[in-house]
């Protein structure tokens, strides 16, 4: 995929399909240490140990519409290409954690890309899900917890057109502040 944010979207979509109602997404970019780490932790149905062991094999999928699952193998290949790795930890009935690492400056590392768009795509999912998203670039930090937003909104759904606009601008502007012109 041409952006890391598309791999993230794909993994978030897996969490939603696994019935998660709450997802924690952490992206940490450490420029001096030259690392980029992405962690996605969900409270979905999880996987058995045997399933986890084979989940990076593209011929393993529980989908019925197609016989290959590509999401995680592609994400893992992207990380490994950049001196990094992807790990899957999961417990049936509890949840799943995906952690991917990259060498930040690696020539093959795709740009982070439109994280605002990826988070929006999940927040607009027809299955209600909350995301706690924290993104750091060295000591700059962005954080959005949609459970808090929901509390603030009462009965108004996140998908309401005005809320949609609010979320989009909070994400876009907040993430832009992580990379002021001149940095990177």
């Amino acid at each position: 995929m041409r952006e890391l944010s598309l791999h993230v979207l794909d993994a978030l979509e897996n969490s939603v399909e696994a019935g998660a109602t709450s997802i924690e997404l952490v992206i940490e970019e450490r420029l001096k240490a030259d690392t980029l780490e992405i962690v996605i932790r969900d409270n979905g149905r999880g996987m058995s140990p045997e399933f986890v062991r084979q989940v990076l094999n593209p011929f393993v999928t529980t989908r019925k519409t197609r016989h290959v699952g590509l999401g995680l193998p592609l994400f893992a290949a992207a990380a490994r290409r950049c001196n990094g790795d992807l790990r899957v930890e999961s417990e049936a009935g509890v949840g799943t954690t995906i952690s991917a690492t990259f060498q930040h400056s690696h020539i093959d590392r795709a740009p982070v890309g439109d994280m605002a768009g990826s988070v929006m795509a999940i927040l607009l999912s027809d299955r209600p899900v909350d995301i706690r998203y924290r993104h750091t670039v060295d000591d700059r930090q962005f954080e959005l917890d949609t459970a808090e937003v929901r509390k603030e909104l009462g009965t108004v759904p996140l998908s309401h057109p005005d809320v949609r606009g609010w979320l989009q601008s909070v994400l876009t502007e907040g993430l832009a502040d992580l990379r002021p012109p001149g940095l990177l």
């Binding site: 995929m1 598309l6 979207l9 794909d10 979509e13 939603v16 399909e17 989908r63 019925k64 519409t65 197609r66 699952g69 590509l70 999401g71 592609l74 439109d114 768009g117 990826s118 929006m120 795509a121 999940i122 607009l124 999912s125 027809d126 937003v149 603030e152 909104l153 009462g154 009965t155 108004v156 998908s159 309401h160 057109p161 005005d162 809320v163 949609r164 606009g165 609010w166 989009q168 909070v170 502007e173």
Partner: protein
């Protein structure tokens, strides 16, 4: 601090939204975008973004939601439009530059863009 300001904004959004929430939920148009791996790889996120932008630009109110893989991978990105009393229409291979025309003809004029429609499901009551 920008954070306080945005939370204030949110309160205003809530106050305005609560007034007409019922009407909106009951009579609205629903637009559904497929967001499985194939959809994502084919540009579904950008298609969704174009839909949100066009709706905002034209001040049209519609419910936009995303769903996982529907199993028509070669036709991704897939966009469904559902309106009360009309068949649900599926558009295939929808790129962002096709969105203005779909919104103009389907949502505003009420005509299906036949050349891009690949499916149609019976009326929702």
């Amino acid at each position: 601090m920008p954070k306080l300001k945005t939370l204030d904004d949110l309160k205003k959004v809530r106050e305005n939204a609560e007034k007409d929430l019922k009407v909106r939920l009951e009579t609205g148009t629903r637009i559904i975008v497929g967001m499985g791996t194939c959809g994502i790889a084919a540009g579904a996120r950008e298609t969704m973004h174009a839909i949100l932008e066009e709706l905002q630009k034209r001040e049209i109110e519609a419910h936009v939601s995303t769903v996982g893989c529907i199993g028509m991978c070669v036709r991704e990105p897939l966009v469904d439009i559902e309106q009360a009393g009309k068949p649900r229409i599926t558009y295939g291979n929808v790129k962002p530059d096709m969105i203005p025309r779909i919104i103009e003809e389907h949502l505003i004029k009420g005509n299906v863009v036949e050349e891009w429609a690949i499916g149609r499901l019976a009326t929702r009551e």
